[in-house]
């Protein structure tokens, strides 16, 4: 299976129904807030949902707006100023949709690597904004970051296959 698309191949672009478009991110935010911290704090469900929608739609504008909306909603529920997650997820949404337009992100291996990469990108943007703009004293832990990235990538692969069922061909 080719990894990149050539000019002769058609790119599959999907769309989603309105209930799925609104409900899935809200459910992710709700679960992220409600599920026990001890087990689920390492996961970032809103990030996984952002990456999935961005990669499926393959439209950068749609991806960045989805990321911005989900990120801002996540910010509203957190203790820090609103916009840190928004900026980070906007970048991820844009990047994932741009990447989705160029790479085959339908197989599990590619999805795993893409999710791991975007988790680290998300963390990098988050820390840059938090430390540079908001002047927060956050410290980055590589061990924790890698473990969390791998965990999110593993969960993401499963979650994407589940969400694939909601895809509608354009």
């Amino acid at each position: 299976m080719p990894i990149t698309y050539t000019s002769g191949e058609q790119i599959e672009v999907y769309r989603f129904s309105i209930p799925v478009t609104i409900g899935v991110p809200l459910l992710a935010l709700f679960l992220q807030t409600f599920l026990p911290r001890r087990i689920f704090s390492i996961f970032d469900l809103p990030l996984l949902v952002t990456i999935f929608f961005a990669m499926a739609r393959r439209n950068p504008i749609s991806g960045l707006l989805t990321g911005a909306a989900i990120g801002l909603a996540q910010d509203m529920l957190g203790p820090y100023p609103i916009g840190i997650y928004g900026i980070a997820k906007t970048v991820v949404g844009y990047g994932a949709s741009s990447l989705g337009a160029k790479l085959d992100v339908e197989n599990a291996g590619a999805r795993f690597l893409v999710t791991l990469g975007f988790y680290l990108v998300h963390a990098a943007v988050y820390f840059t904004v938090a430390r540079g703009m908001v002047n927060m004293t956050l410290n980055w832990s590589w061990s924790r970051g890698i473990v969390a990235g791998l965990a999110n990538a593993a969960l993401g692969v499963g979650l994407y296959f589940l969400l694939d069922k909601f895809k509608q061909r354009t």
Binding site: L29, T33, F34, L64, G78, I87, V91, M136, N139, S141
Partner: protein, 446 residues
């Protein structure tokens, strides 16, 4: 220009969206420096999400209650019996501790120390978290309507949890102590070294600002120091788990929080603190040692006939010697053990005023010796009585004017001589009792 924008349309929109968010962030950062204003958008978001969480928590609790209160009652009787025994033991322990606490209060009041106490708390239930691994905070189901305010301390029975960061009408956001942006004034229990408690990226808690030349060992308890003006002094914070050299001249002390921060369900918000002088023991209060003495098993009293005979004889002798009226102490004849005698003389003004250094002949000498006995007896009598009341009686008798006089009358004047020798032999003669024990009543078992 239009062609450039059209060509890089996606990138332009990305930059525009990012710019708007950065702008919004900048506005917030600037405003949060002036005053703590909660944004309406936050209130909307929280008000939207918390009702669902409340319903879920309620359903979960109802299920748990149904299970625990109706179906899971095996072994309750045995557990109840065991708990009752435990309560009895803890009561005895409490008596001992309250005695220590009162002593500490007396000493604190002597030094005019101020102490901060928890005056009022509001129990709250944890209904959610901030939804992110990068910030560690929780939502509780109590807000400004319940008296919760900004920067109030949040604790559990185990230890401190965090402080209130944002307050909404019916909920509040609590920043936990393992968040990277939190800071708690803490100190080590044994060495009293003070530092600042902070969270790390991994969710662990470290104690900073302790110099590397200090001796800190794993297992030492960490308490709140009260320096942050949020947590009252002395609340349990955690236990030192690891000590390693840190940056610059400081130690890196890892602390395991006393409260299980990842499994919080119910917390207490300290809504009111009091700063007051420690209250010393008041005159009318019952001493903890007396309560302990009453609870512990004791040897049966002497036959009433012996005691009555001895006391009657004592009154006959003491009254003329001291110039007091024997009828002023009608209860004396029924006193049979050491403690009531000591109490009786401990509150007799004529005894207390006579200096112990007085060395007058016969009657005066008896007074001097008696005074010493009267001063010592209230402090020692309860513990002595609580152990072996009958055995301690002779010791107290030797310092007691009534029974000394009694023995003088029975054995002759020379037999008074051994009495003064027993005074220095008392084990704790030094601390004068600031609040004399109230006179023993007739129904006192001792």
């Amino acid at each position: 220009m239009e062609s450039v924008l059209g060509r890089y349309r996606n990138l332009t929109i990305l930059v525009g969206v990012l710019f708007l968010q950065v702008l919004g962030l900048a506005v917030q950062v600037k405003r949060s420096a002036d005053a703590e204003n909660t944004r309406l958008i936050r209130i909307w978001a929280v008000d939207t999400i918390t009702p669902f969480e409340r319903v879920l928590v309620w359903a979960q609790n109802s299920g748990n209650n149904l299970w625990h209160n109706y179906f899971y009652l095996r072994g309750v009787r045995a557990e109840n019996r065991q708990l009752k025994e435990q309560i009895e033991q803890m009561r005895l322990e409490q008596v001992r501790l309250s005695e220590d606490a009162e002593q500490a209060h007396r000493l604190q009041s002597l030094l005019a120390f101020k102490e901060q106490t928890i005056a009022k708390t509001v129990p709250a239930q944890v209904i959610g978290s901030s939804g992110s691994d990068l910030s560690r905070s929780i939502y509780i189901d109590k807000g400004s309507n319940d008296g919760v305010g900004l920067d109030m301390a949040v604790i559990t029975a185990g230890g401190i949890v965090g402080k209130v960061l944002r307050v909404y009408p019916s909920t509040a956001l609590v920043l936990m102590i393992n968040d990277q942006t939190s800071g708690v004034g803490a100190m080590l229990e044994k060495s009293r070294l003070q530092g600042v408690l902070r969270g790390t990226a991994n969710g662990r808690v470290i104690l900073e600002r302790v110099m590397s030349d200090e001796q800190v060992t794993a297992g030492e308890t960490v308490l709140s120091s009260g320096g942050d003006q949020i947590f009252p002094k002395g609340l349990p914070v955690g236990t030192v788990t690891k000590v390693s050299p840190g940056r610059e001249m400081f130690l890196n002390i890892e602390v395991k929080p006393a409260a299980d921060l990842s499994r919080l369900e119910e917390v207490l918000v300290i809504t009111e603190k009091q700063e007051q002088n420690p209250v010393a023991e008041t005159a009318g209060r019952v001493r903890a040692a007396d309560i302990l003495a009453q609870r512990l098993p004791s040897v049966p009293d002497k036959p009433a006939v012996d005691a009555a005979t001895a006391a009657t004889t004592a009154n006959k002798v003491v009254a003329p010697a001291l110039g007091t009226n024997p009828s002023a102490k009608p209860s004396a004849p029924v006193q049979s053990t050491a403690k009531p005698e000591a109490n009786q003389h401990g509150v007799t003004p004529s005894f207390a005023k006579v200096p112990s250094s007085s060395t007058a002949t016969a009657p005066g000498s008896t007074k001097a010796v008696s005074t010493g006995g009267a001063q010592i007896a209230p402090a020692n009598a309860p513990s002595a009585a609580s152990q072996t009341p009958k055995k301690t009686a002779p010791k107290a008798v030797s310092g007691d004017p009534a029974l000394n006089s009694d023995s003088r009358e029975a054995e002759g004047a020379n037999t008074v001589v051994p009495a003064p020798k027993t005074i220095p032999a008392q084990p704790k003669p030094t601390v004068p009792q600031p609040n004399p024990q109230p006179p023993a009543t007739e129904d006192d078992p001792h």
